[in-house]
């Protein structure tokens, strides 16, 4: 059987692929959907898709790229199946009563919630950039969009985040390295 032979030749072990890439896949789904349960469901779908297509995977590296791409697609699809508006509304992201003079310990959660309020395309661009550390060209390949568009999304999203953080009393100059 040709398909079995290809799996044998590459020596790909599905269980090992799951263990190796589960954090990456889950995190893409989690940070995009901002819903742990839904992220787990989507992540499982991604791996089951890999299992169904295992014979077409040529190497470990290929599997990683495949998983990332499908995680992105499935997360976006899942987000669209929900209501159009993001699950986290800007109003839900708390504003401090006064200007923050020291580092906000909840900053990480604030940022994650702000990311969740972005429209789906720039949201996923941000996840791939800052979770996966992908360069804009790599993001462009995964999301099948021009590099210039990726960079544009990054710039506008960062500007938007700075503005939202400033409105919440976090001084802008703090964000300049």
């Amino acid at each position: 059987m040709t398909q079995l032979e290809s799996v044998q030749q590459t020596g790909l072990d599905f269980g090992e692929l799951v263990r190796r890439h589960q954090s990456m896949v889950f995190s893409v789904c989690r940070h995009f959907l901002h819903d742990r349960d839904q992220a787990e469901d989507v992540a499982q779908e991604v791996f089951l898709g890999l299992h169904r297509n295992l014979e077409s995977i040529q190497s470990e590296a290929h599997a990683g790229h495949w998983l990332r791409k499908v995680a992105v697609q499935r997360s976006i699809d899942a987000g669209r199946r929900r209501q159009r508006r993001p699950q986290v509304a800007l109003a839900d992201v708390a504003e401090p009563a006064a200007e923050t003079a020291v580092r906000d310990p909840m900053l990480g959660e604030t940022l994650r919630r702000l990311i969740a309020t972005l429209p789906e395309t720039p949201r996923m661009v941000m996840v791939l950039r800052y979770q996966e550390d992908l360069e804009p060209a790599e993001i462009g390949q995964v999301m099948e969009m021009p590099v210039a568009t990726v960079k544009s999304h990054l710039q506008r999203s960062l500007a938007l985040l700075r503005e939202k953080l400033a409105r919440r009393g976090v001084r802008e100059e703090r964000w300049i390295g």
Binding site: M1, L4, V7, Q8, D13, F14, G15
Partner: protein, 174 residues
Amino acid sequence: MKTWRTLTLALGLAAALSAQQFKFNLDHLAAKASDTVDLSLNGATLQFAAKFLDSKDPDESKVKKLIAGLDGIYIRTFEFKRAGEWTEADLEVIRKQLRSPEWSRIVGVKSSQDGETDEIYMRNENKKITGLAILAAEPKEITVVHIAGPVDLDSLAELGGHLGIPKVEIGKQK
């Protein structure tokens, strides 16, 4: 979820079950199950089937090697639409029989989170393996596998990666 059809041997293939080393006693679950699998293949049936396995097919060739010398394979699987259709007492009926001196439990895992119980027993006679029993129970499914004869557990696990089963790395047996 994959639907299992009820399969029973027909055409006289289900001969005497004398090779069975313990009784399943699970027929009462069939009435409650949404799907069942019932496979009873004694030694004669296995040797007959072996003649029709293709040695050139890698999967069938492995199975052909595995069944050489076996006295029988007996499998019952019950799937239920909801949890709570089977009880520990149902499993205990089988476990009691596997507490005889010839049998020893080599694996026993219970997960309260998933409600899952998995056990593997080996039968030893004169320092030789003469049987294998697997009990796998989840809230909505029970599977009992009994292989009578000199079965190689590692070879059985090695079938993972073939027969449409994802290959899982084999850990050391306890």
